[in-house]
Symmetry: C2
Subunit: 225 residues, 2 copies
DNA sequence: CCTACCGATCGGTAGG
DNA sequence: CCTACCGATCGGTAGG
């Protein structure tokens, strides 16, 4: 069942499929020849992300996804060449949004913000992505990595590297001051592991707020000041 | 696609199936009526653990498991009533062994061993389980939790609680001395998350030894002394 | 994007 | 524990 296939490198990027002129059939749309294909595609991605997260990739049928997107069973294949390509789109799409919002979170800090405050912003942002409404892609990435082909993994790794690279100068600075007591590269792996693990136990509607969670994580890793 | 089914609580424990007198057929065994059923059962569990880890539960067919255990397709069902019951056995079996070996690791410490040394032993032991030859069950537990029924989860949670409970007095002591700077219960979740995450990136045959890995983790969480 | 369909594979079982 | 098999479901496609 779905052994990872090798694909030519050219199949890497999630290029939008060439879109033939859509002739509306069945129930008419508001605008008869509106190009809402982008919306339909995004709807499939969002539906799939939710289902992949809650049920797993293998346990989600393309029929489930079609139904969640209010389509018939064969229709997702009009937008994606395979179930696997859809998984890739879910992860890469979400990751690209996260890179952008993380950059924004850092830029909103004062230019003179100390490294500890920068790390707080990164941790807080990471939790927001994990537990926000568009955060399904992270558990999907973590849990369904196996189901991605090697070229798909490479493509995602490139975006992930951008995300992680923004952590390194902050961790390096904290290591220089002595607040961070492990080697920065290793510390990043441990810290992001600890944060990602929170999807297993943290419930956003519980007693512990995201702010309190961020504060505890920060104290554990780099102390109070 | 294996939707979680609810089961009567009596189906909880992985009781060994009632074993009818096995009449050997085909190639004769060394001892014609040897009761090696326990070995066969364990062989299935070990084969399944490896396959579940490398391919995932849904992506592993019962035929794959049978082949890995050198049996025909229907034979695993002689030992386990369902593929799901086998998953449960894989996880509970591994976890019970881990609880026992962890207790042993603690007992081998000098009675006067300071809490930092106790934590080092726990972390080191945890890594050994994660990366040892019988450690497949932990990734399986983490990644395939979804595929367990609620009663199966409850059964495993009881064993997992034993494992985790052994960490708490050590973390509490380190918190009392100020070495651990987050609340112990939360610190345990963060720390075990960081350690478990290592299955994603650590390679036992790489440059970093398990000892060095343990040392870096300890420094990150509780400092040098 | 829908309809209708195909070949493959799967978990599980009866009967020995 | 093997043989032979069943019903269900799946990813994907042709043709419109």
């Amino acid at each position: 069942m779905c052994p990872p296939r090798s694909e030519p490198p050219s199949a890497l990027a999630g290029e939008p499929p060439a879109v033939p002129a859509a002739r509306p059939r069945g129930r008419p749309r508001k605008a008869p020849d509106a190009r809402d294909d982008g919306n339909r595609r995004q709807l499939i991605i969002d539906s799939a992300a939710r289902l992949f997260r809650t049920q797993g990739f293998d346990a989600t049928s393309t029929r489930d996804i079609a139904a969640a997107a209010d389509m018939r069973s064969g229709s997702p294949f009009y937008h994606f060449e395979s179930k696997n390509a859809l998984l890739h789109a879910v992860v890469e799409d979400g990751l690209q949004r996260a890179v952008a919002s993380q950059q924004q979170a850092l830029q909103q800090l004062p230019a003179a913000a100390p490294p500890r405050e920068r790390l707080a912003a990164l941790v807080r942002h990471h939790f927001e992505v994990l537990f926000g409404p568009e955060g399904d892609f992270i558990p999907v990435m973590l849990y369904e990595w196996r189901s991605l082909t090697p070229p798909q993994r490479a493509s995602i790794d490139r975006v992930k590297a951008d995300y992680e690279a923004q952590w390194m100068p902050v961790l390096q600075a904290l290591h220089d001051t002595g607040a961070l007591r492990a080697e920065p590269a290793l510390a990043r792996l441990f810290i992001m592991g600890a944060l990602n693990w929170a999807v297993q136990w943290y419930r956003p509607d519980g007693r512990l707020s995201l702010d309190a969670l961020t504060g505890q994580a920060l104290r554990l890793f780099v102390g109070d000041r």
